[in-house]
Amino acid sequence: MIAVRDVRKSFGDFVALNDVSLEIPDGSLTSLLGPSGSGKSTLLRIIAGLEEPDKGTVEIHGSDATQVPPQRRGIGFVFQHYAAFKHMTVRDNVAFGMKIRKQPKQRIQERVDELLEVVGLAGYQQRYPNQLSGGQRQRMALARALAVEPRVLLLDEPFGALDAKVRAELREWLRRLHDEVHVTTVLVTHDQEEAMVVSDHIAVMDKGRIEQVGGPVELYDRPRNRFVMSFLGPVSKVGEDLVRPHDIAISLTPEDGARQATVSRIVHLGFEARVELEVEGEGTVAAQMTRAEADHLELVERAVVWVRATGRTAVPA
């Protein structure tokens, strides 16, 4: 387990982490999710030992690591911009940590080949990083981090510099890899979909604080506050409540607690339909439903309807 306790970190006047505590279970894949400036990368770098907290402690597998330098924390770290050793071949990049540990040549050779196989770079041993694509470089960086058999794998926006398609592929791949390797992993991301797809647990962060920790479904369905709710998915505002667009019920007749609205636009997106409504005195609200529901209501633009929030996930002001 990684236990972070009351960690505080400032850069000048800017408070990056404001008394943060977090526990990360062994063998799990936990995401630190938040907008830029929320402190998620700083927290990861403090766990790694690349930054020193102003106050508070970091415990890794039961021993206090707060004063331990990154070299001796038993971590693997993957950087957003790969941090590939440009003057070394792929083989030498991956072998670096093992060479530093003076492991036997034969063992290094075997382990590098094995890891490159795992990350799908078999046959690339003699290439230089500038001969690889971004996705390949990041997979090399991951093999390099795994080569030293870390107790903890820390990933700092590892797919942030890649294009959308490669990013989606790699996140699926990372999840499969984690299911095979089972190393305790912490992933920093600002992409809620990425966090939802790969994580066992998500810690949602904002302005140097952890807002909520939980499984993806739990966070999506039972957000503790408006920030978590709106960061984890699309929201609409009905009255003072925030609801998911798919939790807005539309009826053609007045109902208790429903508000009168006018349909301003209907967008059909394959299976689903998005309905934009002008609620009296409140502005635009987006609702989401299946095509079948939309067809059943026989909605047309400019029609007058009544809307209300049905949601379990409504968060009051």
């Binding site: 790694a48 690349l50 330098p69 990154p70 070299q71 001796r72 971590i75 693997g76 770290f77 950087f79 911009h81 790969y82 941090a83 590939a84 050793f85 440009k86 003057h87 670096f96 940590g97 530093i100 540990r101 500038n130 960086a141 390099r144 981090a145 080569a147 030293v148």
Partner: protein, 264 residues
Amino acid sequence: MIVDRRWRVTLRSFALGYLALLLLIPVGMVFYRTFEHGAMAVFDSVTTPAAISAFWLTITVTLIAVPLNTIFGVLCALALARGRFRGKALLDATIDLPFAVSPVVIGLALVLVYGRGGWLDGLPFQVIFAVPGIVLATIFVSVPFVVREVTPVLREIGDDQEQAASTLGANRWQTFWRITLPAIRWGVAYGIILSVARCIGEFGAVSVVSGRISGETETLTLLVEERFQNFDVAGAYAASALLAIIALGTLLAMTRINPRRDDE
């Protein structure tokens, strides 16, 4: 961008013409005038005891100054690019002092500090009008080159690779030798070329502190001037040619071990 052919030719002719007029023709003339009276005369002229002494003095001074400035330069560049400390701006500005101040003034300043009645006059060995003074003056004027070549390279590569090395278990020393130094090697090499050129070519500061004792404290550049002043024009040319050959030799040696600068 498509450039008009005529314009391209004009541009190229201008660049080459400029270089020819200002660099190639004068340097070529030195070689021409040197060997005008045959190779034997040149050989005699550069093997006089004074010339041999000057040659070795120049080499010795360069071999002391350049390694020292290389080590200092790399450390200083690391401090400027990576460090966070008070007085960094001051250090940054001080590095450029030798560029800003005329070499003659640097020479005079050294005399004031180390010369007779100077602040550090009491040293057990003579500095001014002796070899230590020449070494000091040469180090002084060639301090900025390595720092100024390496600092921007360090800033550009960032510290991601160094951090990655530390998470993989490398200590500072291992990280420096295995990651940082290979990444900045072209910058260091170029800084060394410029330093060597400056060290063997330095005249102003050295001329003030050397005392010009022929055969003892006379460097090659001082020898050239001495011969020129004494109407030994052929001798001056021969010594100049020797200087030029050392410089070209360094340049070639460095381009040999430094085949490509654009590999990143």
